[in-house]
Symmetry: C2
Subunit: 131 residues, 2 copies
Amino acid sequence: MTAPQLTRNQSLVLDALSQAEAPLSAYTILDKLRDDGFRAPLQVYRALDKLLELGLVHRLESISAFVACAHPHQGCCAHGLTAFTICEACGKVTEFHDHLIEERLAAFARDHGFRPGKATIEVRGHCAGCA
Amino acid sequence: MTAPQLTRNQSLVLDALSQAEAPLSAYTILDKLRDDGFRAPLQVYRALDKLLELGLVHRLESISAFVACAHPHQGCCAHGLTAFTICEACGKVTEFHDHLIEERLAAFARDHGFRPGKATIEVRGHCAGCA
DNA sequence: ACGGTTTATGTAATGTTATTACATTTGTTG
DNA sequence: CAACAAATGTAATAACATTACATAAACCGT
Protein backbone atom coordinates (compact mmCIF):
# COMPACT_ATOMS: atom_id res chain seq x y z
CA MET A 1 0.00 0.00 0.00
CA THR A 2 2.98 2.34 0.47
CA ALA A 3 3.40 4.10 -2.84
CA PRO A 4 6.76 3.48 -4.47
CA GLN A 5 8.93 6.54 -5.05
CA LEU A 6 8.24 7.91 -8.50
CA THR A 7 11.08 8.36 -10.94
CA ARG A 8 11.97 11.73 -12.36
CA ASN A 9 10.03 11.22 -15.58
CA GLN A 10 7.00 9.88 -13.78
CA SER A 11 6.99 12.84 -11.39
CA LEU A 12 7.31 15.32 -14.21
CA VAL A 13 4.37 13.82 -16.06
CA LEU A 14 2.24 13.63 -12.93
CA ASP A 15 3.04 17.24 -12.06
CA ALA A 16 2.13 18.38 -15.54
CA LEU A 17 -1.24 16.66 -15.25
CA SER A 18 -1.86 17.86 -11.69
CA GLN A 19 -1.25 21.46 -12.63
CA ALA A 20 -3.40 21.33 -15.73
CA GLU A 21 -6.99 22.48 -15.54
CA ALA A 22 -8.12 20.08 -18.22
CA PRO A 23 -7.09 16.68 -19.54
CA LEU A 24 -3.88 16.61 -21.55
CA SER A 25 -2.99 14.46 -24.51
CA ALA A 26 0.28 12.58 -24.42
CA TYR A 27 1.73 14.89 -27.04
CA THR A 28 0.68 17.98 -25.15
CA ILE A 29 2.48 16.62 -22.12
CA LEU A 30 5.51 15.98 -24.28
CA ASP A 31 5.52 19.59 -25.42
CA LYS A 32 5.19 20.87 -21.87
CA LEU A 33 8.18 18.80 -20.81
CA ARG A 34 10.57 19.66 -23.67
CA ASP A 35 12.46 21.99 -21.37
CA ASP A 36 12.87 19.19 -18.87
CA GLY A 37 14.61 17.05 -21.43
CA PHE A 38 11.73 15.12 -22.91
CA ARG A 39 12.33 14.36 -26.57
CA ALA A 40 10.13 11.44 -27.60
CA PRO A 41 6.52 10.29 -27.13
CA LEU A 42 7.67 7.09 -25.53
CA GLN A 43 9.03 8.91 -22.53
CA VAL A 44 5.54 10.19 -21.87
CA TYR A 45 3.73 6.95 -22.61
CA ARG A 46 6.04 4.98 -20.36
CA ALA A 47 5.52 7.34 -17.45
CA LEU A 48 1.78 7.32 -18.07
CA ASP A 49 1.69 3.53 -18.09
CA LYS A 50 3.23 3.44 -14.68
CA LEU A 51 1.05 6.19 -13.28
CA LEU A 52 -2.06 4.46 -14.64
CA GLU A 53 -0.95 1.24 -13.04
CA LEU A 54 -0.51 3.02 -9.72
CA GLY A 55 -3.93 4.61 -10.04
CA LEU A 56 -2.49 8.13 -9.93
CA VAL A 57 -3.72 8.98 -13.39
CA HIS A 58 -6.79 8.12 -15.46
CA ARG A 59 -7.09 7.82 -19.18
CA LEU A 60 -10.23 9.30 -20.73
CA GLU A 61 -10.94 6.98 -23.62
CA SER A 62 -13.45 9.16 -25.36
CA ILE A 63 -11.02 12.01 -25.81
CA SER A 64 -7.66 10.17 -25.81
CA ALA A 65 -6.38 12.24 -22.95
CA PHE A 66 -5.17 11.89 -19.39
CA VAL A 67 -6.03 13.43 -16.01
CA ALA A 68 -4.51 13.20 -12.56
CA CYS A 69 -6.65 11.20 -10.15
CA ALA A 70 -8.84 13.39 -7.97
CA HIS A 71 -7.95 11.52 -4.77
CA PRO A 72 -4.72 9.65 -5.25
CA HIS A 73 -4.08 9.24 -1.50
CA GLN A 74 -5.84 5.97 -0.92
CA GLY A 75 -5.23 4.28 -4.21
CA CYS A 76 -8.07 4.98 -6.51
CA CYS A 77 -9.01 1.36 -6.97
CA ALA A 78 -10.30 1.31 -3.42
CA HIS A 79 -13.33 3.08 -4.83
CA GLY A 80 -13.90 0.46 -7.45
CA LEU A 81 -15.21 1.75 -10.69
CA THR A 82 -14.59 5.37 -11.62
CA ALA A 83 -16.87 7.53 -13.73
CA PHE A 84 -16.29 10.94 -15.27
CA THR A 85 -18.15 13.93 -16.57
CA ILE A 86 -16.21 15.84 -19.20
CA CYS A 87 -17.12 19.36 -20.28
CA GLU A 88 -16.77 19.71 -24.01
CA ALA A 89 -16.44 23.48 -23.73
CA CYS A 90 -13.85 24.04 -21.01
CA GLY A 91 -12.46 20.54 -20.58
CA LYS A 92 -13.31 20.36 -16.90
CA VAL A 93 -13.44 16.80 -15.64
CA THR A 94 -15.26 15.58 -12.57
CA GLU A 95 -14.50 12.15 -11.22
CA PHE A 96 -17.12 10.24 -9.26
CA HIS A 97 -17.98 6.84 -7.93
CA ASP A 98 -21.39 5.27 -7.81
CA HIS A 99 -21.85 2.02 -6.03
CA LEU A 100 -25.23 1.34 -7.59
CA ILE A 101 -23.90 1.66 -11.12
CA GLU A 102 -21.10 -0.64 -10.15
CA GLU A 103 -23.60 -3.18 -8.87
CA ARG A 104 -25.71 -3.02 -12.00
CA LEU A 105 -22.72 -3.60 -14.24
CA ALA A 106 -21.55 -6.45 -12.04
CA ALA A 107 -25.04 -7.97 -12.12
CA PHE A 108 -25.18 -7.83 -15.89
CA ALA A 109 -21.76 -9.41 -16.11
CA ARG A 110 -22.71 -12.17 -13.67
CA ASP A 111 -25.90 -12.94 -15.56
CA HIS A 112 -23.98 -13.33 -18.80
CA GLY A 113 -20.93 -15.18 -17.58
CA PHE A 114 -18.83 -12.17 -18.43
CA ARG A 115 -15.69 -11.65 -16.39
CA PRO A 116 -15.22 -7.89 -16.11
CA GLY A 117 -11.82 -6.25 -16.25
CA LYS A 118 -11.60 -2.51 -16.57
CA ALA A 119 -14.72 -0.41 -17.12
CA THR A 120 -15.04 2.97 -18.79
CA ILE A 121 -17.81 5.41 -17.89
CA GLU A 122 -17.59 8.85 -19.41
CA VAL A 123 -20.32 11.42 -19.88
CA ARG A 124 -19.54 14.26 -22.24
CA GLY A 125 -21.59 17.42 -22.08
CA HIS A 126 -21.42 20.90 -20.61
CA CYS A 127 -20.54 21.81 -17.05
CA ALA A 128 -22.48 24.26 -14.91
CA GLY A 129 -20.18 27.11 -15.87
CA CYS A 130 -20.43 26.45 -19.60
CA ALA A 131 -24.09 25.49 -19.86
CA MET B 1 -38.82 8.14 -37.92
CA THR B 2 -38.70 6.55 -41.36
CA ALA B 3 -35.06 5.80 -42.00
CA PRO B 4 -33.67 7.61 -45.03
CA GLN B 5 -32.37 5.43 -47.82
CA LEU B 6 -28.71 4.74 -47.29
CA THR B 7 -26.23 5.58 -50.00
CA ARG B 8 -24.04 2.97 -51.59
CA ASN B 9 -21.04 3.74 -49.40
CA GLN B 10 -23.11 3.81 -46.25
CA SER B 11 -24.70 0.46 -47.10
CA LEU B 12 -21.37 -1.12 -47.84
CA VAL B 13 -19.93 0.00 -44.53
CA LEU B 14 -23.02 -1.08 -42.61
CA ASP B 15 -22.98 -4.48 -44.31
CA ALA B 16 -19.33 -4.97 -43.49
CA LEU B 17 -20.02 -4.26 -39.84
CA SER B 18 -23.17 -6.37 -39.74
CA GLN B 19 -21.39 -9.40 -41.14
CA ALA B 20 -18.39 -9.07 -38.84
CA GLU B 21 -18.29 -11.08 -35.64
CA ALA B 22 -16.28 -8.47 -33.82
CA PRO B 23 -15.81 -4.71 -33.93
CA LEU B 24 -13.91 -3.38 -36.91
CA SER B 25 -11.55 -0.44 -37.09
CA ALA B 26 -12.12 2.13 -39.81
CA TYR B 27 -9.01 0.94 -41.63
CA THR B 28 -10.09 -2.69 -41.45
CA ILE B 29 -13.38 -1.68 -43.04
CA LEU B 30 -11.44 0.18 -45.70
CA ASP B 31 -9.45 -2.95 -46.52
CA LYS B 32 -12.59 -5.06 -46.71
CA LEU B 33 -14.12 -2.63 -49.16
CA ARG B 34 -11.17 -2.17 -51.53
CA ASP B 35 -12.84 -4.44 -54.03
CA ASP B 36 -15.94 -2.28 -53.90
CA GLY B 37 -13.99 0.76 -54.94
CA PHE B 38 -12.98 2.21 -51.60
CA ARG B 39 -9.62 3.93 -51.79
CA ALA B 40 -9.35 6.37 -48.87
CA PRO B 41 -10.09 6.46 -45.13
CA LEU B 42 -12.42 9.37 -45.57
CA GLN B 43 -14.87 7.29 -47.50
CA VAL B 44 -15.19 5.06 -44.46
CA TYR B 45 -15.27 7.84 -41.89
CA ARG B 46 -17.92 9.73 -43.76
CA ALA B 47 -20.17 6.71 -44.00
CA LEU B 48 -19.56 5.93 -40.33
CA ASP B 49 -20.45 9.48 -39.32
CA LYS B 50 -23.80 9.16 -41.01
CA LEU B 51 -24.48 5.69 -39.61
CA LEU B 52 -23.57 6.85 -36.12
CA GLU B 53 -25.90 9.78 -36.51
CA LEU B 54 -28.70 7.44 -37.55
CA GLY B 55 -27.98 5.16 -34.62
CA LEU B 56 -27.25 2.20 -36.87
CA VAL B 57 -23.67 1.89 -35.69
CA HIS B 58 -21.87 2.43 -32.39
CA ARG B 59 -18.33 3.53 -31.82
CA LEU B 60 -16.46 1.72 -29.05
CA GLU B 61 -14.24 4.42 -27.62
CA SER B 62 -12.02 2.16 -25.61
CA ILE B 63 -10.88 0.18 -28.64
CA SER B 64 -11.33 2.74 -31.42
CA ALA B 65 -13.60 0.44 -33.35
CA PHE B 66 -17.14 0.23 -34.63
CA VAL B 67 -20.04 -2.24 -34.39
CA ALA B 68 -23.45 -2.45 -35.99
CA CYS B 69 -26.26 -1.68 -33.58
CA ALA B 70 -27.85 -4.81 -32.11
CA HIS B 71 -31.41 -3.59 -32.71
CA PRO B 72 -31.40 -0.90 -35.35
CA HIS B 73 -35.13 -1.26 -36.10
CA GLN B 74 -36.49 1.27 -33.67
CA GLY B 75 -33.71 3.79 -33.65
CA CYS B 76 -31.31 2.96 -30.91
CA CYS B 77 -31.72 6.25 -29.11
CA ALA B 78 -35.18 5.16 -28.08
CA HIS B 79 -33.38 3.07 -25.49
CA GLY B 80 -31.46 6.00 -24.16
CA LEU B 81 -28.00 5.22 -23.02
CA THR B 82 -26.24 2.19 -24.42
CA ALA B 83 -23.66 0.10 -22.59
CA PHE B 84 -21.34 -2.61 -23.87
CA THR B 85 -19.34 -5.56 -22.72
CA ILE B 86 -16.33 -6.24 -24.91
CA CYS B 87 -14.43 -9.53 -24.80
CA GLU B 88 -10.72 -8.89 -25.01
CA ALA B 89 -10.09 -12.41 -26.25
CA CYS B 90 -12.60 -12.95 -29.05
CA GLY B 91 -13.86 -9.42 -29.58
CA LYS B 92 -17.47 -10.34 -28.93
CA VAL B 93 -19.55 -7.31 -28.03
CA THR B 94 -22.83 -7.34 -26.14
CA GLU B 95 -24.98 -4.26 -26.13
CA PHE B 96 -27.33 -3.56 -23.27
CA HIS B 97 -29.46 -0.89 -21.69
CA ASP B 98 -29.95 -0.29 -18.01
CA HIS B 99 -32.46 2.22 -16.90
CA LEU B 100 -31.13 2.40 -13.39
CA ILE B 101 -27.62 3.27 -14.55
CA GLU B 102 -29.13 5.89 -16.77
CA GLU B 103 -30.98 7.36 -13.80
CA ARG B 104 -27.90 7.42 -11.62
CA LEU B 105 -25.88 9.24 -14.25
CA ALA B 106 -28.72 11.68 -14.83
CA ALA B 107 -28.99 12.28 -11.09
CA PHE B 108 -25.31 13.02 -10.76
CA ALA B 109 -25.49 15.40 -13.69
CA ARG B 110 -28.51 17.17 -12.27
CA ASP B 111 -26.87 17.56 -8.86
CA HIS B 112 -23.84 19.17 -10.46
CA GLY B 113 -25.48 21.37 -13.04
CA PHE B 114 -23.92 19.25 -15.75
CA ARG B 115 -25.78 19.04 -19.05
CA PRO B 116 -25.14 15.56 -20.39
CA GLY B 117 -24.61 14.88 -24.07
CA LYS B 118 -23.36 11.48 -25.15
CA ALA B 119 -22.33 8.88 -22.61
CA THR B 120 -19.88 6.02 -22.99
CA ILE B 121 -20.16 2.85 -20.93
CA GLU B 122 -17.84 0.02 -21.87
CA VAL B 123 -16.74 -2.94 -19.81
CA ARG B 124 -13.77 -4.86 -21.11
CA GLY B 125 -13.14 -8.37 -19.89
CA HIS B 126 -13.73 -11.95 -20.98
CA CYS B 127 -16.96 -13.42 -22.25
CA ALA B 128 -18.42 -16.71 -21.07
CA GLY B 129 -16.81 -18.62 -23.92
CA CYS B 130 -13.36 -17.17 -23.32
CA ALA B 131 -13.33 -17.12 -19.52
C1' DA C 1 31.67 -4.68 -2.96
C1' DC C 2 30.41 -8.02 -6.72
C1' DG C 3 27.63 -10.06 -10.25
C1' DG C 4 23.17 -10.79 -11.91
C1' DT C 5 18.48 -9.28 -12.52
C1' DT C 6 14.95 -6.07 -13.09
C1' DT C 7 13.37 -1.51 -14.03
C1' DA C 8 13.82 2.81 -16.19
C1' DT C 9 15.71 5.60 -20.01
C1' DG C 10 17.15 7.42 -24.72
C1' DT C 11 16.48 7.44 -29.58
C1' DA C 12 14.74 6.31 -34.02
C1' DA C 13 11.53 4.46 -36.83
C1' DT C 14 7.12 2.93 -37.78
C1' DG C 15 2.24 1.80 -37.22
C1' DT C 16 -2.55 3.19 -36.42
C1' DT C 17 -6.39 6.35 -36.17
C1' DA C 18 -8.60 10.60 -37.79
C1' DT C 19 -9.01 15.13 -40.09
C1' DT C 20 -8.35 19.11 -43.40
C1' DA C 21 -8.62 20.95 -47.91
C1' DC C 22 -10.26 21.11 -52.34
C1' DA C 23 -12.48 19.59 -56.57
C1' DT C 24 -16.35 17.05 -58.50
C1' DT C 25 -20.67 14.66 -58.78
C1' DT C 26 -25.27 13.42 -57.54
C1' DG C 27 -29.77 14.31 -55.70
C1' DT C 28 -33.50 17.27 -54.39
C1' DT C 29 -36.48 21.07 -54.68
C1' DG C 30 -38.75 25.17 -56.30
C1' DC D 1 -33.75 23.87 -65.50
C1' DA D 2 -31.46 26.55 -61.96
C1' DA D 3 -30.03 26.56 -57.39
C1' DC D 4 -28.92 24.39 -53.37
C1' DA D 5 -27.69 20.59 -50.39
C1' DA D 6 -25.64 16.16 -49.73
C1' DA D 7 -22.42 12.77 -50.98
C1' DT D 8 -18.11 11.39 -53.21
C1' DG D 9 -13.10 11.18 -54.82
C1' DT D 10 -8.36 12.14 -53.92
C1' DA D 11 -4.32 13.76 -51.69
C1' DA D 12 -2.02 15.36 -47.95
C1' DT D 13 -1.38 15.86 -43.21
C1' DA D 14 -2.32 15.70 -38.26
C1' DA D 15 -2.85 13.23 -33.97
C1' DC D 16 -2.23 9.20 -31.20
C1' DA D 17 0.48 5.05 -30.01
C1' DT D 18 3.82 1.15 -30.37
C1' DT D 19 8.00 -1.65 -31.77
C1' DA D 20 12.81 -2.38 -31.71
C1' DC D 21 17.12 -1.87 -29.96
C1' DA D 22 20.82 0.07 -27.15
C1' DT D 23 22.18 2.04 -22.63
C1' DA D 24 21.99 3.20 -17.79
C1' DA D 25 20.34 3.06 -13.09
C1' DA D 26 18.31 0.72 -9.08
C1' DC D 27 17.76 -3.50 -6.51
C1' DC D 28 19.08 -7.82 -4.27
C1' DG D 29 21.31 -11.85 -2.63
C1' DT D 30 25.81 -13.43 -1.61
